[in-house]
């Protein structure tokens, strides 16, 4: 899980071109949207593509988005859960 979280932080920074943000600046449980990194709806689309691209995971139900993308940890948990299926 810790390695997955570290990978995700690096991938988010790259995919969203978060200039001047380092992986250690992103808290595992810090909110990604509005507060924290302050991501927006376009970033949400970028994260959906990131999940497909790096992990081959599609989000079937868009309503699950807010829960999955709450923090880096919730994304990692979602990936682990999907991989286990």
């Amino acid at each position: 899980m810790e390695q997955l979280i570290a990978d995700l932080k690096a991938q988010i920074i790259e995919q969203l071109n978060l200039q001047e943000v380092k992986p250690e600046d992103i808290g595992d449980d810090a909110p990604l949207f509005k507060e924290g990194l302050g991501l927006d709806s376009i970033d949400a689309l970028e994260l959906i593509v990131l999940l497909q691209q790096y992990y081959g995971i599609r989000i079937a139900n868009p309503d699950d988005g807010p829960r999955i993308f709450t923090s880096v940890r919730t994304i990692a948990e979602f990936i682990t859960e999907q991989k286990a299926k």
């Binding site: 071109n17 978060l18 200039q19 302050g38 376009i42 593509v49 691209q53």
Partner: protein, 354 residues
């Protein structure tokens, strides 16, 4: 009705964004691709917004902000941009992903930012400007079309101050493709000596130049934009001579009234013969300045030329690096700029002291 140039801003291969009248020291290049000298864009754009902006968008926003600062206004009554290539880099990113990823998993940012009117839109978003916003994409007439639209808009009394600009970027791909067309010199030498070369090809350039044009003068007014004329695919040099005579007459001027010529000379023997004929036939002995050895050749390079002309009128001096021939008079009242892009898109821009 006079149109006043109340603010200018340029981001170019010269250091034109550091507050000097022109540039602190001219940048000399030994390549056939002149890239803009990037200022610190974070002085104008929030970090969260800048991460989605490609280079040309940042160039546009920066030049727009410089011109607004000079004009002493924060929100114009409209935004008009001209660009031939648009957001070329993001277009390339998006198209490449379409091919490589077989049209799957395409990210939205590059697509959203790849349209030609993205720059005008981003400036409007940053300024909170909900007024008229238009982008002209007419190859070598893109900037001139934006100017013509602004002039008509101001004359109709629909706006008091408009933000008008022209911008284009060159990317790795576009440079390689245009180089294959034979547009650029293979051994360009020093850019400062470009205009003395009389062989095939020129040097590629890029940049953004923005202006605040107004219907009334202000304490910030630099010069007047008296007129703009476009001539598409003239049959020969005589057609340019005739258009020039009519253009000057329409503004109540004779060739003798022009104090300084600015031409779009670019060191290409075929391109420059148009300027040679024009200056020799119409304006023998007139002092001539040039600008493409400073900014390179690109479809909206006249934006840089107009930035140069407006500041020459404002400061009543021509930078030595920009002079091509002759000696300027003590008082510069009228500047006529003649440019063509790839011999098809010719334009005349008349600027006057206010």
């Amino acid at each position: 009705m006079k149109i006043y140039i109340n603010g200018t801003g340029a981001i170019s291969p010269q250091q034109t964004a550091v507050g000097a009248a022109f540039w602190p020291a001219v940048q000399d290049y030994t390549t056939n691709r002149l890239k803009v000298v990037d200022p610190d864009y974070k002085q104008w754009i929030d970090l969260k917004q800048i991460r989605r902006m490609s280079r040309v968008i940042k160039m546009g926003v920066g030049a727009a902000q410089l011109s607004l600062q000079q004009a002493g206004i924060s929100v114009p009554d409209g935004i008009i941009t001209g660009t031939a290539y648009g957001c070329l880099d993001d277009t390339g990113v998006f198209l490449q992903k379409m091919v490589v990823q077989e049209e799957q998993m395409l990210t939205p940012t590059a697509f959203i930012q790849s349209t030609h009117n993205t720059v005008g839109g981003q400036i409007a978003l940053l300024l909170g400007c909900h007024a008229y916003n238009n982008t002209f994409v007419h190859r070598g007439f893109s900037f001139e079309s934006a100017l013509l639209d602004a002039i008509m808009f101001l004359r109709e009394g629909e706006a008091r101050q408009l933000l008008v600009g022209g911008l284009d970027e060159i990317t790795h791909f576009s440079h390689a493709i245009l180089q294959r067309f034979g547009l650029y010199k293979t051994n360009p030498g020093h850019s400062g000596s470009l205009l003395q070369l009389h062989n095939k090809g020129t040097i590629a350039g890029e940049g953004a130049a923005f202006f605040v044009l107004g219907a009334a003068s202000t304490p910030h007014t630099k010069a007047c934009l008296a007129g703009v004329q476009t001539i598409y695919k003239p049959t020969d040099n005589a057609a340019i001579q005739q258009a020039t005579t009519l253009f000057l007459a329409a503004h109540g001027l004779l060739a003798a009234d022009i104090d300084l010529l600015i031409t779009g000379r670019n060191g290409d023997v075929d391109d420059d013969q148009w300027y040679n004929t024009w200056t020799t036939a119409h304006f023998p002995g007139k002092p001539e300045a040039a600008f493409k050895h400073l900014c390179g050749e690109y479809p909206t390079a006249t934006g840089f030329g107009m930035w140069l002309g407006a500041n020459v009128l404002a400061h009543q001096q021509v930078p030595a690096e920009a002079m091509y021939s002759g000696t300027v008079p003590a008082k510069i009242n009228n500047i006529l700029m003649y440019n063509h892009h790839l011999t098809t898109h010719h334009s005349l821009i008349l600027m006057q002291v206010c």
